[in-house]
Structure formats: structure tokens, C-alpha cells
């Protein structure tokens, strides 16, 4: 649904994007993460036809963003990181304005606007002036706006920034709904735990280059987190468990953490059963054995170097 081929964008001497190759399939939710100034917003703006790339090509729904701008805009709902609202319009008028701007016939506008208001839970605010809405409501309105022309692709730049936890959860639920409706969603956010919960794929960008792109499973695999196991035993058996595990040839290292033991396997092997067998045979009382899971935040830190333009 979205594809970029060697996409490059330069601002004078500054290279904001360098040969970015990206592929997002239909119906996927793609989390786009990176430090500030990494090139996320630039990529999104190019895909929304608002910036011209210096080099390379980009396609949305098979349409070239450079040569088929109007078709791309029809297929895309773009929500910028900083969204403005017209001071002198009410919520219903605002959405009707954008409905008209997307060539929706006047007879259908009312029902479509009411539909998106219901979807975004803004029905009660339809007569409110848009600039009187709270930040959370304005973000919802932004989402309602991008849905107004029923686009196949949603490009959402930091849709949850500045929102309180409740509003963030509500936006997350809304995105899940949209996924069920078959929308392809490209979303950037600094709140990585949220992306972790809703994204099928993640792209990590740094210094204009794609550091990683794939599923969350692929990230864990790449970082070797599958070769680590957390073991919790009763405190009296901790020393004994360390001794037993250190004797196992597949185990590279056992480190004692505050409340558990972290077992590293050599050569990326995953062998929870080896740990269980060893401890059971040694009469160690086990509380739990579970594979070590890194959070997306940790993966982000490990995969990026903190470089910004």
C-alpha cells in the first residue's frame, strides 16, 4: 500500500532522508519511530504529497506521489504533528468543509460527517467552535477529519502527543477500530509502549536512514532477546540454582538480578526446557521460568545511536 524506493530528501546540505526503502502492506499498522530530527515527519510529508523528494520515488496505493498528487491525496488521510483549526468554524462545519474539499457530494456530507463524529465520539460537540475544544478533543477532531473521505491509508504524525492517559487509550482504541475497518495506518509516536500494543510492523529511522523495519518478533530476534530466560526460584535456593545452571554447557552466563536470575544462552539458543530439567533434577523450587522480553523502548535504544541532525 505504501512503498518508497531510495527516497532521499535534502534541505540544502542537510540530508533529512537517505535512500529510504519502505514497504507497508494493506491493512497493516506500521509504527514509525526514531529520535527527533530523524526524518519521520519528512517521510510522512512526502507521502502526503506536501514535500517533494530530492531523489527517489514513493507510491501510495500504487500511485506516484510526485506525478499523481491528486490521486494520492484522495487515498491518504494525513494528520500533521501540529494541527491547526479554523477559528471561526464549528465542529460540524469544519468536517463538512473538508468533506466538500474532498469532493464528497453535498447530499452525502451530512450522513458522512455524522458517521465520523460518532466514530470519534464527538457527537456532543458538533455545535462547538473548533478552537474551544480541548487538546484531546482537537486530536479526535483531527482523526475525524482524516477519515472524512474514507481514505485507504492513514498517515498519522504523533497523534497522541500531549494527550492525557485516558485520551491516549481512547485514540489507541480508535486505531484498533480503524484497523478492523481495513485501513492501512502509518503512525509515528514517541510513546513506544503504545506502538508496541497496536502495531504489526515497526520501522526505526535514524539520521534519515532506516535502521530496522519488520515485525516486533523480528526485532526481538535481531536483538537476541530470545536467548535470554528469566528464572525465579525461592530465595533459599538461589545460590544452588546459580551453581547448577553455570554447569550447563549451553548456558553462557547466569547473572543475579534483584528478584530473579537472568540466564544467557550461547549461540542464540532458546532452551527453557534445559533450565527447567536442570533445576528440577537439582531439587530447586521454581517459581517461574519465562523468556526475557525487551520493551520497544529498549529495542529503540539498542538499535539507535542517538544521532540527530
Amino acid at each position: 500500500m505504501i512503498e518508497t524506493i531510495n527516497l532521499t530528501k535534502c534541505y540544502g546540505n542537510l540530508q533529512a532522508l537517505v535512500d529510504l526503502n519502505l514497504k507497508i502492506g494493506p491493512g497493516d499498522i506500521y509504527g514509525f519511530i526514531g529520535p527527533n530530527g530523524a526524518g519521520k515527519t519528512t517521510t510522512m510529508r512526502i507521502l502526503a504529497t506536501l514535500l517533494e523528494p530530492t531523489r527517489g520515488r514513493a507510491f501510495v496505493d500504487g500511485k506516484n506521489v510526485l506525478t499523481q498528487g491528486k490521486e494520492v491525496r484522495r487515498a491518504v488521510g494525513y494528520m500533521p504533528d501540529f494541527m491547526g483549526v479554523y477559528d471561526d468554524l464549528k465542529v460540524f462545519e469544519y468536517l463538512e468543509f473538508f468533506a466538500a474539499a474532498f469532493d464528497i457530494p453535498s447530499k452525502q456530507r451530512k450522513s458522512i460527517v455524522e458517521g465520523v463524529l460518532e466514530l470519534t465520539d464527538l457527537e456532543g460537540k458538533k455545535s462547538a467552535a473548533v478552537d474551544s475544544l480541548s487538546r484531546g478533543m482537537q486530536q479526535r477532531l483531527g482523526l475525524a477529519r482524516v477519515l472524512i473521505h474514507d481514505p485507504k491509508v492513514l498517515i498519522l504524525d504523533e497523534p497522541a502527543s500531549g494527550l492525557d492517559p485516558r485520551a491516549r487509550i481512547e485514540i489507541r482504541e480508535l486505531l484498533r477500530e480503524l484497523k478492523k475497518m481495513g485501513k492501512t495506518i502509518m503512525i509515528s509516536s514517541h510513546i513506544l509502549s503504545e506502538l508496541e500494543e497496536i502495531c504489526d510492523y515497526v520501522g526505526i529511522i535514524e539520521h534519515g536512514q532506516l535502521v530496522f523495519s519488520g515485525t516486533l518478533e523480528e526485532i526481538w530476534k535481531k536483538l537476541g532477546t530470545h536467548s535470554k530466560v528469566r528464572v525465579m526460584v525461592i530465595p533459599e535456593h538461589k545460590e544452588k540454582a546459580i551453581e547448577l545452571l553455570n554447569a550447563v554447557p549451553e548456558i553462557e552466563q547466569v547473572t543475579e538480578q534483584k528478584s530473579y536470575l537472568l540466564v544467557n544462552f550461547s549461540d542464540g539458543q532458546i532452551a527453557g526446557n534445559v533450565v527447567a530439567k536442570t533445576l528440577v533434577r537439582g531439587n530447586v523450587d521454581i517459581i517461574s521460568i519465562e523468556p526475557e522480553r525487551l520493551k520497544l523502548d529498549d529495542a529503540f535504544l539498542q538499535l539507535t545511536k542517538g544521532m540527530v541532525h
Binding site: L50, P80, A100, S132
Partner: protein
């Protein structure tokens, strides 16, 4: 010892009064290109004026040396007078422009509240902002000192005049600047501050004195000398004019008892009052922002529940952007303020018509000249300003990317924006059209053909100014720059170019270039049409009797003149079309600056 030195240094450098704001503002000012551009432009205008006067008064190629030497005294007076007048008005305009965003920027960027969390107080904020901008203006004024010095050395200009003009300029600049700063506390748009301040200055120093003079003359039967003296006490603009008259025409008989010193003291006192008020209001605003109540109070004021009639939803008909644009009011003010403004303008107009009526001037040519020119100048001014805000306001409100992300085409955007400008400036143009229609078709003091000819003149210039404004609004980053550039563009096209043409024509002695430039000038067309059609002596002429004076070919009849006006109008429309094409090509470049 060290602390005493530090205290002394702090006292001497006035840092206790200005705080770090002054330093910060100076740093920012030094990085702003527009300050250098303003200074260069100012110097260029002065030099241009100087050359023109010199060539006109002394440098005639047929004149001998004795003649030239005899003219030096008059040339010195003319140069000094011109420089003083340019400096007097330019410094006020620059101070209004420079201080127009001084406080609003801090409020808009939410830094005013942050400043209140530091030891800086509101006095330091206002003083730091005010003095740093004034320093820039003084630097600009300093550019004229060498010229004034040289001319003074050649003699002919008394020190008293130089001192008076300097003090009057200084106090007027202080007043205009603090007025702009005060208004900038209440409006986030610099161009609104500029317009409101300039209109207030016009009201204070032109309209009210005229009104006051009329009251004193008609109501109290005061003699002209006493009227002038009374008004001069509160009017630096008139005072400097009288100083100039005293300098150039010593025998004219200006009352000896009026003093510029009193005027300066009065202006200073009013400025001080405004300054103290600004300090208090800034403190209040800053504290509100620091507590997060500034934006909340704005939101509360827009709450639909507290707004009568707010529940009414308007449905969009036709092209959406056009629908939105033509619903933009001229001023975004509430119904009460709108009614008051309407009543004020209507009252002023009726009152002024009444004055002319009492003097028997309604059927005179000059009356229609005066009103038509005032309406056209104000109309051009507002069209210039409104058009220059079209795209920059979309950008600053962060709606621009979303608008460009829709299916609305670039041409539709430009057309809708142009229509929006026409809609917003329409009330002013309707004043002109109303005046001409009333005096053409109801009271026959203007020939009815003037109505159609004036339409032929104003429609192209409205579109021309709109096109240039939208172009600058697309090209430039912020609204104030676009407004200033469009105003400069209009002044250059219709005032500076004829002026330059006049200078270029002097050496050759041929007036062809000047004639050509003037023949294309809509203000000349307006004068030409009114000269032949306004006044009761012209209003009843047959078409064949109408003979218009064209600067190039002499007299021309009604049909030829109308045809020429049409052709020149087409020329303006063609240039407008070129500007629209350019705007269309750059509309999607630098969307996110």
C-alpha cells in the same frame, strides 16, 4: 569595593531598568535582515530626495555658476525641510512597525508567562523591548546627521529649527512606539497592530484636529491663529508643519506665541501614561499566562454555551474554500463593536458631509476629488493588507498543510483567496461606489458616466493589489513581512516609480518617460475623470462635451478616454494574471516554513 563597582555599572548601564530583555532584543535585532533593509531603503529614499531637490533647484544644465550659487540657500532650506519631513513620518512609521509584535510575540509564543517565573519584572520587559527598538530607530535617524550637518554648514538653517524638529520627531516616535506596543498587548497579529496604530494616529492628529478646528471656528468664533495654537499644543504633526512654514516662509505670520516645547512636553506626558499602563497590563497578562489562564479565558469566551446563537450550523454551499473565504468578515470583532464601528464611520461621514454642505461645497469639484481620493487610498490600503495576510495566516494557524492535502486545486485556492480579499475590503470600496452613485444618480453633482469610468479604474487595481498581496503572502514567511512588502510594492509602483521617472527626465529635459508613467497611474486617471465629470458645472454636460485631459496626447473625448481606461485596466489585469501564475507555481513550495 567590587559590589560597589557592580552597582555603579548596573546603574550607569541602566540594566536595572531593562534587565536582560534589552540585551536579548539587541541580539535578535542584529540578526534580522529586515532592519538592515529598512535602513538601506531609508537612506536610499533620502538620497533620492536630496538628488531630486538639488537637480531641480541648483543643477539645471542651462544655469550659470552665479545662478547656482544664488540658489544654494534655497536648496539648503528645501533639503533640510525634506529630510525633516521624511524623518519625522518615517521614524514614526518604523517605530509602529518595529514595536507591533513586541509583546504579542511573547504572548503568542507563551514566553511571557515564563519570564514571570524569573526575577525579571514587567517594567523591565516593557522597557527592554521599547528601548531596544527605539535604539534601532535612532540608529536610522542618525544616518541623516551627516547630511544635516553638511547642509547646516552651508548656512541658512537656524539651530532653533533643528532642535525643534529633533525634539518633535523624538517625542512623536516615543508616542507612536508606545501606542503600538500597548496595542500589541491585545492583538497577536502584527499587521493588525500596525493598521490600528496608524489609524489611531490619523484620527488623533488629522481627523480630531479638523473636527476641533471646525468646532472652535464655527462654535466659538475663534480666530484662525488661536485655533492653530490650541491644536498645536496637542498635535506634533501640525507643529512640525508650522515649524517648516516658519523656516521657509518667515513672513507668513505664524503666531509667535505657540511653542513646540509645550507640545513635546504634552506628548511625553501622554507617552509616559501609556507606558505605565502598558507595564501594568503586561504584568497582568504575564501572570495570567504563567497560571495558564490566558488561553483558558479565550476558550471560555468562545464557549458555545455562552455564545448566543452559537448552535446555528451553516451548511457549505459550492466550493468549500470560497464558501469559507467569503464569510470572513472585514474585522473579526463582535456584533457590538461592529455596530459601534459602523456608527462611528457613518457618523464621521455624515458629519463631514454636513460641514461641506454648510460651506456650500457639495456641488464643488474639489469635494468629490477629496472624498474619492480618500476612499481609493483607504480601499487600496485595506486591499493591500488583507491580500497579504491570505496565505501567511493559513501557515501561522497551521491549516496550510491540511488544506494542501485535500483535493482543492491550486487555482481554486488562489481564486477563493482573491474572492475573500474582495469580500473583506468590499465595505471600503462600497463607500466610494456609494458616494459616486449618490452624487451621480440621486443628487446630480457628478456626471453619471463617472460611475462606469471609475469602475473601470478601480476593478483592475483591486485585482492587481490582491494578486500582489497573495503573491507576497505565498513568498514570505510571516504576515507582517508580507503586509509591509505589499505596501512597499504599491508605493513603489504608484509613487516611487513616477518620482524616479521625474528624476531621470530632468537631465534630458524630456518629459516622455514621466508622461508615460503618469498616464498609467490609476490615481491620475481618477483625477482626470473627476476633473471632467465632478461638480455641478460638469454633471449635466452631454457626452460630446466631455473632454478629458490626457497627459500624453492632450484632450480626448469620452469614448477614446473610456477605451484607454479599459485598455490600461486590461494591462493591470494581465500583470495580475502573471502574478497569479507565479503564485500558483510557488504555492506548494516551502509548505512547512
Amino acid at each position: 569595593m567590587r559590589s560597589a563597582a557592580a552597582t555603579l555599572s548596573k546603574t550607569v548601564t541602566l540594566s536595572w531598568l531593562t534587565g536582560p530583555i534589552f540585551d536579548k532584543e539587541l541580539r535578535i535585532s542584529s540578526r534580522r535582515k529586515r532592519n538592515y533593509v529598512l535602513r538601506s531603503a531609508y537612506l536610499a529614499i533620502l538620497l533620492l530626495a536630496l538628488v531630486l531637490i538639488w537637480v531641480e533647484m541648483v543643477g539645471s544644465r542651462n544655469a550659470n555658476i552665479t545662478y547656482q550659487a544664488s540658489r544654494l540657500y534655497r536648496a539648503g532650506l528645501a533639503i533640510i525641510s525634506t529630510i525633516v519631513v521624511i524623518q519625522f513620518f518615517a521614524a514614526q512609521i518604523f517605530s509602529v512597525i518595529m514595536l507591533s509584535n513586541s509583546i504579542s510575540d511573547e504572548i503568542y509564543h507563551k514566553t511571557l508567562g515564563v519570564l514571570m517565573t524569573t526575577p525579571i519584572n514587567s517594567l523591565q520587559i516593557v522597557t527592554g523591548k521599547f528601548l531596544s527598538k527605539l535604539l534601532q530607530i535612532f540608529l536610522m535617524m542618525g544616518l541623516t546627521l551627516p547630511i544635516l550637518g553638511i547642509v547646516r554648514v552651508f548656512g541658512g538653517v537656524p539651530w532653533d529649527f533643528l532642535l525643534a524638529s529633533f525634539c518633535l520627531t523624538l517625542t512623536s516616535v516615543l508616542f507612536a512606539g508606545i501606542l503600538s506596543l500597548t496595542i500589541s498587548i491585545h492583538s497577536k497579529h502584527a499587521y493588525v497592530v500596525i493598521i490600528v496604530t496608524l489609524l489611531l494616529l490619523l484620527l488623533l492628529f488629522v481627523l480630531l484636529p479638523l473636527f476641533g478646528a471646525w468646532i472652535l471656528y464655527e462654535g466659538f468664533g475663534l480666530r484662525e491663529n488661536k485655533i492653530v495654537t490650541s491644536i498645536c499644543l496637542a498635535n506634533p504633526w501640525l507643529t512640525i508643519c508650522l515649524e517648516l512654514v516658519k523656516l521657509n516662509e518667515p513672513g507668513v505670520g505664524i503666531p509667535a506665541f505657540f511653542g513646540w516645547g509645550w507640545n513635546c512636553l504634552g506628548t511625553l506626558a501622554v507617552s509616559a501614561g501609556l507606558f505605565i499602563r502598558a507595564v501594568c497590563v503586561v504584568r497582568k497578562k504575564a501572570l495570567l499566562q504563567a497560571c495558564g489562564q490566558l488561553s483558558e479565558s479565550k476558550k471560555r469566551s468562545r464557549n458555545p454555551e455562552t455564545n448566543a446563537g452559537a448552535a446555528k450550523i451553516r451548511h457549505i454551499q459550492g466550493p468549500p474554500l470560497l464558501w469559507k473565504e467569503i464569510r470572513q468578515p472585514m474585522f473579526n470583532i463582535g456584533p457590538v463593536k461592529k455596530t459601534l464601528l459602523f456608527l462611528f464611520v457613518a457618523g464621521c461621514l455624515i458629519f463631514s458631509y454636513f460641514i461641506f454642505e454648510s460651506e456650500g461645497g457639495l456641488d464643488e469639484e474639489y469635494f468629490h476629488f477629496l472624498y474619492s481620493f480618500i476612499f481609493v487610498i483607504i480601499g487600496v490600503f485595506f486591499t493591500t493588507v488583507f491580500s497579504a495576510t491570505t496565505i501567511t495566516s493559513e501557515r501561522s494557524s497551521r491549516n496550510w498543510p491540511m488544506l494542501l492535502g485535500t483535493l482543492i486545486s491550486d487555482s481554486q485556492i488562489i481564486i477563493a483567496k482573491t474572492m475573500g480579499v474582495l469580500r473583506r475590503s468590499a465595505p471600503i470600496w462600497l463607500l466610494l461606489i456609494g458616494h459616486i452613485m449618490f452624487f451621480s444618480f440621486i443628487v446630480r453633482y457628478i456626471h453619471p458616466v463617472a460611475f462606469f469610468q471609475i469602475l473601470l479604474i478601480i476593478i483592475p487595481i483591486i485585482l492587481f493589489v490582491s494578486a500582489s498581496g497573495i503573491m507576497f503572502s505565498t513568498l514570505l514567511k510571516n504576515t507582517t513581512s508580507a503586509v509591509v512588502m505589499n505596501l512597499i510594492f504599491v508605493v513603489v509602483v504608484w509613487a516611487v516609480i513616477p518620482f524616479l521617472a521625474a528624476i531621470l527626465s530632468i537631465p534630458s529635459g524630456s518629459g516622455d518617460l514621466v508622461e508615460l508613467v503618469v498616464a498609467l497611474n490609476p490615481f491620475y486617471h481618477l483625477g482626470m475623470v473627476l476633473e471632467q465629470t465632478a461638480g455641478s458645472h460638469n454633471a449635466h454636460d452631454s457626452l460630446s462635451e466631455l473632454q478629458y485631459y490626457w497627459i500624453i496626447d492632450g484632450e480626448a473625448g469620452f469614448f477614446v478616454t473610456t477605451l484607454w481606461l479599459f485598455v490600461i485596466g486590461l494591462g493591470y489585469l494581465f500583470v495580475s494574471w502573471l502574478m497569479w501564475i507565479l503564485t500558483k507555481n510557488i504555492l506548494r513550495t516551502k509548505v512547512f516554513r
